[in-house]
Amino acid sequence: MMGSGALKTRSIRLFLGFLVVLLAILVTGAADQFSVHAQTGDAFAETTTYGPAPKLTAADYPSFAGVNARIAVWIFAQLHLWFAAFVLSVPIFVFIIEAIGMRTRDKRFDDMAYEFIKISITAYSLTAILGGLLLFSLIIFYPHLFTYLSTIFSGSMFYYALLFFAESAVLYLYYYGWHWLQGGLRKWVHLTLGLLLNAVGTTLMFLANSWLTFMMSPAGVNAAGVFSGDEWAAIHNFLWNPINIHRFVANIAYGGSIVGAYAAFKFLTATSAREKAHYDWMGYNANFIAICALLPLPFAGYYLAAEIYAYSQQMGITLMGGIFAWLFIIQAVLIGTLFLSANYYLWCGMGRSEGAKRYTKYIKYIAVVLVAAFLVWFTPHTLVLTNAELKSLGGPHHSILGPLGIMPAKNTAVNVMIIFTFLSFLYYRRSNKIATVSWAQTGNILQVALFTAGIANILFLGIYHGYYTNTVYKVAASIPQVVTTFMVITGSLLIESFIYRGSRDVGPLKWGHIPERAQYALFLLAVAFTWLMGLMGYIRSGIRQHWHVVDIMRDASPDAFTPTLGYAANVVSIAAIIFLAMVIFVFWIAQIGSTRTLPAGYWKE
């Protein structure tokens, strides 16, 4: 006879299968839509003549009330993107958490998922408002660019607007129907709504991504910018999918970090032990999701950079070896901050279990490795020096540290950082468990061997291919490094799951037993993510240099120069402060929504 657990597992599998089919239909349907549209576009092209991209002069850029057009568009676009990232990511992990709640029948997960979606609900309208501001500022300040883009993307822009209705409808049903659609089939319907919400939201993001990637790697147009009439070709441009993947993964990490910051604040202001325990648990889960998405993020970023290089060597060199090279040193500081704060939070969290004492002695070694890897990533390649400094150093590269400035060293460093962050997570996971299988010791040895072999392979690939082969192999070596890292993680998790099958707990986890300073690690994570996204947004846009659409439509505005990194950092900082202030407003709104005031004597009895 089939047990209820097995039945439950089977029904979940069936449901997941159904969801996959549904998603496939949706995606295929969307693709059909595009191809139908493309055919329509082709037919249209037979009767419609598209002009070349306009050649602009400074007079073609209206000025308005002394507003700096570039800064205005920059800040609106960045604010819109931050909120969009937040509202796209929250439903992803709300869906995951709701599914976990259904699987485990632990209502805490369902409550947490509801709280997440509740705090993001106001963010939806702010996302739309900021999108409107971005649109209007583009029309006002860059009318020719907007006209050119909207001529090519008229179809997708129309569907984009329509999809907002679908997004809103599903969101309202999902949020307001949360307590109505509980139990049995109703809960499955609700979960399906969550999936639909994600499908619509992700489609919206993909459409918007196509417009910006067209500006980087134009397709569907000839050298003069004359549109062929095939909108799908313009959408499916060279960098579209690399950006789609990178943003999808980054959004999850980002959403996790913002919700983690919310939980951290609620933890710090909690007045009861129960409340503290709840928000500690919420913060842990949010951070866990953020780290899960953070680990593959460098690979997604590397894939994007490799594709940029593949599309245009010039653009790739501008990105990594030209004027933006120093930006990656700032990025190293931020990534280092992210990894160190995420690890620090995990280490502090080990205090929730008495059994953690067995592993705390290893933390200092992990910390040393993380800092060393961070320093390698942080090492610049070419130093900008005065003549005297140049002479005393004997060249623009430091004789000993210079070799650490090249990409193979940095790839090695980031892979090592990821593996050791995973190790922190393993220790955390083990801290409250005692293995009961007889071969636990052997399993441990196997894991140590896997880690050792993996790290040795990463170091070998980095050193041998990085320093003893030519440029082509230097870049190519990064792929087996990534594969090694994934093998270490998946292999180790597999062994771990068998070792701790049927394990005993050391004791109940003491949620809420975590130092307050750990909550600041969560704030640091959220702020660093926000700022990093802004910085990388600058470089993504900046590598177009003085082109609105690369090689097709030149930027002739007075702002057609690449600002210094300091200038960009200041704009990003101002935007980040505005964004975080708005996020605080969103959280506050969510809080007062559940606060009731009973005014004595105000209403008629």
Binding site: S312, V333, A388, F523, Q545, L565
Partner: protein
């Protein structure tokens, strides 16, 4: 409220640290403004100057050295003289050139006509070159500019220079013909001279630029006027440590008017 303020202060301090580091922790590089089309006075040029122009375009506007360097991104072009015939005879050759000159021009216009083994775009089995056509896009060389590059490549590759200095420069934006034999007007600012002779293709002067030659950002503090004058007139007389001999054109002195030489010396000597 105290917690709220603590979090706000912590957040602002974090952002302040990131912004501060970006402003003061790393060098502030102000990228050069978008390149404007260079005015070329071909009428007064001899072939040596034309080749020098080609070299400037090769390492400057043409952005060729981004990839054609010793990092292995693209084939080196110094052996083009011995390689050309072999490439034209190669069954993989898909172009229509018949000699070195037409092959080089074709390579600038249609880089995929022949892709050197190992340098094609990934997954194309060396049938597609990653090099963009230099005719359009962000490079957009004019016909005289391309001819100058070919002259330089022929000279650099040990070939006989077969191209001629164009007399009819057409209506290209980059070309402005003057009457034959008419001397070029003298430049009266260092910036114009630097643009004309592409100093920043190799040197960092007022902003981060090339690192092929020594960084001149503080050269006025280290060297006197006599040294600077000599370095301009005879660049190979003394080579800065760590740099190769022969990279700086040794005929620079012949191309400069006396007033221009002094403008350059004045400018460099005040870089302290």
């Amino acid at each position: 409220m105290r917690t709220f303020l603590s979090v706000v202060v912590f957040t602002l301090m974090t952002i302040g640290f990131f912004a501060g580091y970006s402003n003061y922790g790393i060098p502030q590089i102000e990228p050069a403004p978008p390149q404007t089309d260079e005015e070329i006075d071909l009428s007064s040029m001899n072939m040596e100057q034309f080749v020098a122009l080609g070299e400037r375009i090769f390492s400057g506007k043409g952005t060729c050295t981004l990839c054609h360097n010793n990092l292995g991104r693209a084939p080196m072009l110094d052996a083009i003289g011995t390689n050309t015939q072999a490439r034209l005879d190669d069954p993989r050759y898909a172009g229509g050139a018949t000699d070195a000159e037409s092959y080089l021009i074709e390579s600038l216009l249609e880089p995929s006509a022949y892709v050197v083994a190992g340098f094609g775009k990934a997954g194309t089995s060396d049938t597609e070159s990653p090099m963009p056509s230099t005719e359009g896009g962000s490079i957009a060389l004019s016909e005289p500019e391309m001819t100058a590059v070919v002259a330089y490549l022929q000279d650099n590759g040990g070939l006989e220079i077969t191209v001629e200095i164009p007399t009819d420069v057409g209506s290209g934006e980059a070309a402005e013909a003057t009457e034959p034999g008419e001397p070029r007007p003298a430049f009266d600012t260092f910036e114009d001279l630097s643009d004309e002779f592409a100093c920043e293709a190799c040197h960092t002067i007022t902003e981060e630029a090339g690192d092929v030659g020594p960084n001149l950002a503080g050269i006025g503090a280290a060297r006197d006027r006599d040294y600077l004058r000599r370095a301009l007139l005879d660049p190979n007389a003394e080579i800065a440590e760590g740099f190769e001999e022969g990279l700086m054109p040794d005929d620079l002195g012949k191309q400069l008017y006396a007033t221009e030489l002094e403008i350059m010396v004045d400018f460099l000597s005040q870089l302290k």
